[in-house]
């Protein structure tokens, strides 16, 4: 079974440009999460989708970030316009939804390393 995939693996853009990151979750996983790790810091939660709906977007830094999950499948995270402080590694994770108990183990993608110059 394919794991969580992310595209691109690396992106280098200039300040003011737009970048779109893509995440393909594991098939059948309703939950999709975006996280970001700025160099040397902790991994921080950005937002959570349940199917196509945003369950929680409290971690989104500002309105330059826009996440979508069309049809409840893959998700995109667009940064427009990009700023220097947006540099970091963006992780996507997915989990399925058992109806009873237990943590929904999150499976992570390899991340997209974004560098804004």
């Amino acid at each position: 079974e394919a794991g969580v995939t992310q595209f691109p693996s690396h992106s280098v853009i200039e300040k003011g440009q737009t970048v779109t990151l893509r995440c393909d979750p594991i098939s059948g996983h309703d939950n999709l999460y975006w996280y970001r790790r700025v160099m040397g810091k902790e991994i921080k939660f950005l937002l959570h989708f349940v199917k196509e709906s945003k369950q929680d977007e409290s971690g989104m830094p500002n309105n330059r970030f826009l996440a979508e999950r069309t049809g409840g499948t893959y998700s995109t995270l667009k940064v427009q316009p990009a700023e220097l402080e947006d540099s970091g590694v963006y992780f996507c994770a997915s989990s399925y939804n058992p109806l009873a108990g237990g943590p929904n183990e999150q499976f992570f993608g390899p991340g997209t390393r974004l560098t804004v110059l």
Partner: protein
């Protein structure tokens, strides 16, 4: 708000020896989960071990075990018989226990500990 602290940015250990990675957390929740994730160089982050807060018994997975001290809010990871393949970034993570079918199980992570296993 929950916070997770990993006070050791880098550690190293000789192959076949034992190493312990520290993690402390802060929460007012009584029921939650704790995790250790491992990210090898240029590879995906994978789950190493999980602990439910309501369980007193420490979780173990082969060479990996935890020392969970709920009162002290401490969750350390012990790696026994270290192998070269254990070289990775290790993240400690916290997740609240959710009561709804669709839980907001977002995780709170520490800054990570870079572990190097030396031959």
């Amino acid at each position: 708000a929950q916070t997770v602290t990993q006070s050791q940015p880098e550690m190293s250990v000789q192959e076949a020896e034992t190493v312990t990675l520290s993690c402390t957390y802060d929460t007012s929740e009584s029921n939650y989960y704790l995790f250790w994730y491992k990210q090898p160089p240029s590879r995906q982050m994978i789950l190493v071990i999980r602990q439910e807060a309501y369980k007193q018994q420490n979780a173990t997975e082969n060479r990996f075990s935890v020392n969970f001290q709920k009162a002290a809010k401490s969750f350390s990871l012990k790696i026994s018989d270290s192998q070269l393949g254990d070289t990775a970034m290790y993240f400690c993570a916290f997740m609240k226990h959710g009561l709804r079918a669709y839980n907001n199980n977002d995780m709170r992570f520490g800054a990570g500990t870079r572990l190097t296993v030396k031959p």
